[in-house]
Amino acid sequence: MEMIIFASGLGLFVYESVQWRKSYRNEPIAFPSLLYLIGLALAWLSVRHAPIPAPASILLPVFKPVIDTVSSWLG
C-alpha cells in the first residue's frame, strides 16, 4: 500500500512538472516541488518502514514552555 502511495506521488510530481512547463510557466516551481520532495521522502521512509518521528513529538517539546505559560495565564 505504501508503495502505491509513493508511486502515485511520484507520478503526480512528474505530471505537475509537465503541467508547469505547459501552463504555469510564470509561477514559482521551487516551493511546490519542495513539498513534493518532502512528501515523497516521507512516503519512501514509510515504504522502508523507517522510524518516522511523530509531528507532535517534534513540535510539542519546542512549544512546551510556551504552552505551559499560556495555560497558566488562561487557567
Binding site: P32, I38, L42
Partner: protein, 347 residues
C-alpha cells in the same frame, strides 16, 4: 460540522473521566467560555477589510513578517490538527469498523475525497455542508430518541458532588479542542459575502454545535452512566450499539459512524484548505490548487505516524489543546487585534 468532527467521538470519554456525572455541565461551561471569546474574532473580522487574510497580515506586519507568520501558523496549527484528525479517523476505522484494512489505505481513500473537495473550493465545501447538515441533525435526533428507553436519570446524580473545580478542569481540553481552533476561520472570513454577518455565524455555530455536544454527552451519561462512559475510548459510539428495540430496530452504530465520517470530512477539508491558503500566500503561489496534492502526500505519511497509539493520542487531546489552541487560537488573534488597533489609530 468543523466543531463536531473530531471532538464528538474522542472527548466524550475524557469529559466523563474528569468530571463524572457532571460532564454535561462541563460542556455548558466550555460553551460559555467559547461564547465569551467570540467578540475577539468578531473584532478581528471587522478589521480585515482586505480581499484575503494574507493582505491583512502584510498591512499589519509587512511582507516578510506577514508571510512568515502565515507559514508558521498554518503548519503549526491547521496542518498539525489535520494530521491528528486524520489519525483519529483511521484509529477509529481500524479499531471498530475495518480492522483488517491497512491504515494507509484508509488514509489514502479519505485523502482523495478531501483533496477533491478542497480542489473545488470553499464555496463547494460550504454548499454541500449546508445540504447535509439538516440530515445529520436529523440522524442525531433519531439516535437520541431511540436511546430514550435506556435513560436512567439517577446516572446524573448527585449534581456537583465534588464542587465546581472538576467541571472547570474537565472543560479545559474541550475549550481548546475544538472551540479555540476557531481562529482557523479567519482565513475564510474574506470569502464571506457579507462580513458583517460573521458574529451571527459564529454565535449560531456555537449554539448549534454546543447543543449537539450537550445532547450527545448527556444521552451517553444517561444511558451508560459516568463510570462506564469514562472507561470507554469512544462512548458516544458505544452507546448507539446498545439501541435494540424488538430485536429489529438496531445497528445504529453504523448510522452514527456514517454521520461522523461526514462531519470529520468537513473538518479535515477546512483544515487542509486553510493550510493551502496560508502557504500559497506565504510563498506567492497564485494557483493554490497546486499545493493540495503535495500537502496531502505529506499529510498521508504524517497522519499515519501522528501518535504511537490511540492512548497517547487521547492523552495528547486531554493535555495539550487548552495551551496550544490558547496560543494560536486566542493569544495570536489578540496580538493581531492590538497591532491592528495601534496601526489604525488616527495620528
Amino acid at each position: 460540522m468543523f466543531y463536531l468532527g473530531s471532538a464528538m467521538l474522542s472527548l466524550t470519554g475524557l469529559l466523563a473521566e474528569d468530571s463524572g456525572q457532571d460532564a454535561w455541565l462541563s460542556v455548558l461551561f466550555a460553551l460559555l467560555v467559547h461564547v465569551l471569546t467570540i467578540p475577539l474574532y468578531i473584532a478581528l473580522g471587522k478589521q480585515i477589510k482586505e480581499p484575503s487574510l494574507g493582505d491583512y497580515l502584510t498591512r499589519l506586519l509587512g511582507s516578510i513578517g506577514g508571510r512568515s507568520l502565515a507559514a508558521v501558523y498554518v503548519l503549526m496549527f491547521p496542518f498539525f490538527i489535520y494530521t491528528l484528525g486524520m489519525f483519529d479517523l483511521t484509529q477509529f476505522i481500524n479499531t471498530l469498523v475495518l480492522p483488517r484494512t491497512p491504515t494507509s489505505a484508509t488514509i489514502l481513500l479519505f485523502t482523495i475525497v478531501i483533496v477533491a473537495g478542497c480542489y473545488n473550493g470553499i464555496k463547494t465545501i460550504g454548499r454541500t455542508s449546508e445540504l447535509l447538515f439538516p440530515f445529520l441533525i436529523g440522524l442525531i435526533i433519531i439516535i437520541a430518541a431511540s436511546l430514550s428507553p435506556d435513560i436512567e436519570w439517577k446516572h446524573l446524580l448527585p449534581v456537583m458532588d465534588h464542587g465546581f473545580s472538576p467541571i472547570v478542569n474537565a472543560s479545559l481540553p474541550f475549550i481548546g479542542h475544538p472551540y479555540w481552533e476557531m481562529s482557523i476561520f479567519l482565513f475564510i472570513v474574506p470569502y464571506l459575502k457579507d462580513r458583517n454577518k460573521l458574529g451571527a455565524i459564529l454565535l449560531h455555530s456555537a449554539w448549534i454545535s454546543g447543543a449537539v455536544f450537550f445532547v450527545s454527552m448527556t444521552i451517553t451519561l444517561l444511558a451508560l452512566g459516568p463510570r462506564l462512559s469514562s472507561h470507554l475510548i469512544y462512548p458516544a459510539y458505544f452507546v448507539t450499539r446498545t439501541i435494540s428495540i424488538g430485536e429489529f430496530y438496531e445497528r445504529f452504530e453504523e448510522i452514527f459512524t456514517f454521520a461522523w465520517y461526514i462531519m470529520i470530512y468537513y473538518r479535515l477539508s477546512i483544515l487542509l484548505f486553510v493550510t493551502v491558503e496560508g502557504l500559497s500566500y506565504a510563498f506567492s503561489i497564485p494557483s493554490k490548487q497546486r499545493l493540495l496534492i503535495p500537502l496531502a502526500l505529506i499529510g498521508i505519511t504524517l497522519s499515519k505516524y501522528a501518535a504511537p497509539n490511540v492512548i497517547v493520542q487521547l492523552n495528547g487531546v486531554h493535555d495539550l489543546p487548552f495551551g496550544y489552541s490558547g496560543l494560536f487560537g486566542v493569544l495570536l488573534p489578540a496580538i493581531l487585534l492590538i497591532i491592528g488597533k495601534i496601526k489604525n489609530r488616527p495620528a
